[in-house]
Each structure stands twice: as structure tokens, then as C-alpha cells.
Amino acid sequence: MASPTDSANLGQITDKKKRYSAGVLKYRQMGYWDADYVPKDTDTICLFRITPQEGVDAIEAAAAVAGESSTATWTVVWTDRLTACDSYRAKAFKVEPVPNNPGQYFAWVAYDLVLFEEGSISNMTASLIGNVFSFKPLKAARLEDIRIPVAYVKTFRGPPTGLIVERERLDKFGRPLLGATTKPKLGLSGRNYGRVIYEGLKGGLDFMKDDENINSQPFMHWRDRFLYVMDGVNKASAATGEVKGSYLNVTGATMEDVYERAEFAKELGSVVIMLDLVLGWAAIQSMSNWCRKNDMILHMHRAGHGTYTRQKNHGVSFRVMTKWLRLAGVDHLHAGTAVGKLEGDPMTVQGYYNCCRDSYTKQDLPRGLFFDQDWADMRKVMPVASGGIHAGQMHQLLDLFGDDVVLQFGGGTIGHPAGIQAGAVANRVALECMVKARNEGKDIKNEGPQILRDAARSCTPLKQALDTWGEISFNYASTDTSDYAVTASPSN
């Protein structure tokens, strides 16, 4: 059984001749483990959850993670001596067993500022989640959290709009924004699609949204969609006197397609475009620059993230993805609902929201936040709660997430028994009555259902919504939970 306190062969070999003679050394002997290392303010610090193979010492495994995510190869190379190699070596400096999860360890690794190209998430991720995640001596590895130094933060431009300026552009303050994803996801013609946009926005939503897999399929080419959607948006704006928007998904096969679609959205006067996470880091950063030049809000759909964020023992935590996406520069980010149909423990999800919206994120272990993170005045990302939520949960959503969030009720709007406008009215009334009650000092967490029922007395659409969905909830155990919660949870 490997132990983090195993004392055999500890530490770097300081005799240069022994250190650089050809052959294979332990990673910790090569200088990737230093229990006395004090991270510099300019270091990036990563926290990995590692599961070493049977018989692999935890400290050696942590040193290997540091090595494989920075300079190491499997054997000693004399060419190291041509460089200031010690500064390029990442340094594992702390290893602890994960509470209540035998065989798993938390490993803290520090990276010097020189290691990553300025303003490049691609470069940073190529190191931190590159080869190391396939490394054989580890059964599994997960990047749990990351502290990015201010010196590196300042090389990124961050969100092109940010949630404060977004509110100013939309003229919407002091309440969550409301959205809905157009359904069905696939098959609507452009003309039919625009109908859903118009009805939802006129009924009271702020935003409508393309789905992640709506690009330009045979049933609806992208230009048709954009043209009909913008007619709905403008018509609804005139009917309500409000600024309205619809996230036009500009995701395409090539960057040429993406730019062409974004340009058309701009020409038509859309306030927002949308990208899917699967496009990749360079595409995201390029489009962030484009949005900055063109006064456009950038909505990021996290399509694909569940393949590497959900399982606790292997992959990348979504809180790390959130930090990277804020640096890369998105304005909206789907960050979970806690109460809806998709994965997400409430406190863990709140941790993601903090990373989106804080000026300074404080360490908060029950929320999965291992580090203080100074955002150095970087603009804030508007988190989006989307997936299986409805008006009957309004008190929970407002209590969990506060005002700075887009609440998206897709089925919960379009599936309303009296139609899409009625669905939108139900959501907007539920939202406004709950914000009003909270501001008046009411305990919405407990009195919420009664507040909704009272509002429904003068609002038939809300009554119908509560009658249809009031009892619906998705109570399944989350897989990604904090190891420091009041009740520690096992992972699998």
C-alpha cells in the first residue's frame, strides 16, 4: 500500500553527476517533488486528485504528475543541463489522502510563470491536461482546481462584455434574466422556429436560445434561422418596449463558417451570438476577440463537458473549466441548475457560479474551491442555469443563485398547456414576485411555494404552470460532490 509518508528515496539528487547519469530515476529524485517548496505569488498551482496504481507511492505519483505536466520524459536527458532546468520543473509540494476515498490522493503542484504562453488557454491546457492524463502509473487523475496567478490572469482579456455591461446594454437590472431554449431541438423549419422565438419573447422572456446541436442541418439552414429569428426578436421588442435577444448559434465546421455566421448575425442586429464548447480553445478565444470588436455578447454552451467533468476520479473539474473560460473570454456560461435534470450538487454548482462572478474567489472547501483566486478586475461571466427547471422552483433558484444568472426554462415555457406566451408569463410573474418578496425581507426558501400560489391567484398562466409541474423534481444523487461537505460522499 503506497503511503504519502513513505520515506524511501525522498528528494532530489543534488549531486549533478549522479543526477544526470544516463538511466531511469524516480521523478522525485529528478526534482519534481519538494516538500519544502513555498509557491511564489506568480506560480500557477494545480490540485490534482490522483489514484496511483497498486504499489506506486503517492509522493512518487505526485512527482510524476508534476514531471509529465512540465519538463520530464521517462529517462534522464543530458540536454536538461543546457537549460535553467530547475525553474522549468513543476514541483509537487504537498500530498494528502482524499477524505473517505481510500487509494485517492490530493497532490498540489506549482508551475513557474515562464511555463505558459501569455494569453493562451491552448498552451496552458496542453501542459496541465496533456500527456499526464494518460500516464500509466496512475489509474486515474483529475484536475480538481487551479490557482492562476494575477501575473498570468492579466495576460488574458476575459469576457468581451461581462455581466455588468450586458445588463446596461439590455437595460435589465436587479433580477435574474429569463431565457428559453427553442424546442424541439431538431426539425423545425426557419419559419416555425421564429414563431417560438416571437411567442417566448413577447410573453416576457429576455432571451431565446438555439440549441447546441442546431447549426445548419437540412431541415433549417443557418441563414433562414437567423432571418426568421431576428424578425421575432424585433417584433417582440416593439410589442414590449424591452431589449430582447436570441442566442444565434454560429458553431460550424470551420472557422470560416463560424466567422461568416457571426458576421451575418451582426448585420442583422443581434445582440448575442452563441458558441459550443466543442469548438475548442483557439476558436473560443478568436471569437471572444471578434465579439469585443463587434459589441456582441458571447454565449457559451458547455456541450461535451460531461465527458470529462462528471466522474470524480478522472478528468477536469468544471470549476477549472469555468476559470479557463472566464480567462478565454465568454459572457454567458452554462454552469448548472442544482435542481434541474442535469448533474450538479447545489454547493458544488455554487462554487462554479462564484468562479464566474467573483472579483476575488475565496477558498471554500464545501463548495469545492481549494484556492483563493484574485480575478484582478477581470469582467464577470453571467452563469446560465438551464435544463429541466420550471416556475415552481423559482424560490430555490433565486435562493441558490441570486440575481446574476440567466434562468432558462425551455420545456417549462414551450410546454405550457396554454401556449408559449402563457409559459413565458408564468415564468416572468414567478420571477418578479419572488424577487419582490425577497427584497421585502421574506424567507423565500421556506415561504416560496406560498408566495407562488398567492401570485397565481391573479395570474392564470402561473397557476396552470404550478398545476402542471409543481411537483416535478429530479432527486438523484450527484456524482461530483465536495469531499469536504458536511457529509462526505464516496466517489466511484
Binding site: I164, R167, E168, D171, F173, G174, R175, K202, G203, G204, L227, M230, D231, N234, K235, S237, A238, A239, T240, G241, E242, V243, E267, L268, G269, S359, D377, K380, Q421, A422, A424, V425, R428, V429, E432, C433, V435, K436, N439, E440, G441, A455, S458, P461
Partner: protein, 146 residues
Amino acid sequence: MMTNPTGRITQGQFSFLPDLTDAEIALQIEYGLARNYAWSVEYTDDPHPRNTYWEMYGMPMFDLKDAAGVITELQACRSTFPEHYIRLVAFDSTRGIESVAMSFIVNRPKQEPGFGLVRMEARSREIRYTVHSYATDRPENERGGR
């Protein structure tokens, strides 16, 4: 009468609810004062969605700590401009926010004229849209029932 489900302009935090009483408005003001927001009274006869700068009925009340003072200003504005839109706006000066934190309508004209949508057909199937405020069809000094 506008054709949306509320029959009126839906800007601000509470347009879908029954009009707030002055007592209810005072509770909202207190919520803002507890957060050190500065309240301001603004009015307009042109509530176009992109008409950002409504007229200020005096400066934001930075040092006022009593909701009654804001209500007094609001009532004075209402009696001067009974047929205008009036909104209460709260400013938050916290670093990193430095913007409007709350905004809601507290007075409306009896008849809300609403907006028209002007479509200008452009190249190919493109359309250029203009939201037109019917309230501005009359000269400035003839609006608002004054």
C-alpha cells in the same frame, strides 16, 4: 393599449406584477439603502427600449438613508409629470459593479402608446428593423398631457 400579455411596457423589475403601492415601493427602497445604493428618480415621455437617458428628477440621493425621503421626491415627480413614465433607479458604487443595481417603473401614462416596428427591406432577404416610439410622433412640448 399594447398587445403583449400585460398590455403595457414591461421594462424594469416588476412590470408583470400589479402596480406596487407606495408602502411596497418603500420596502424596495429600504432593500437598496441597506446595500448602500443611491436612489434616483427618472422620468420620460419616450420609453423606447434604447432610450437610456431618461430625465433626472434631481441628482441621485447619495447621502439619503431614509426611504421616506425618496418617496417624497417620487411624489413630487408624480405630481409634476402625472402622464410620464417614472422609474426608480438604484446605483451601486462597489468596485467591479459601478452600475445600476435596481430599476422599476412607478408611474405610467393612462394610455401607453407603445411602439411600431418599421421594416426596411434590404439586400437579398435582409430586413433592417427600427422600433418606433409612437409617443414621439408629437412635438416634444406637446407630449405627456402637460
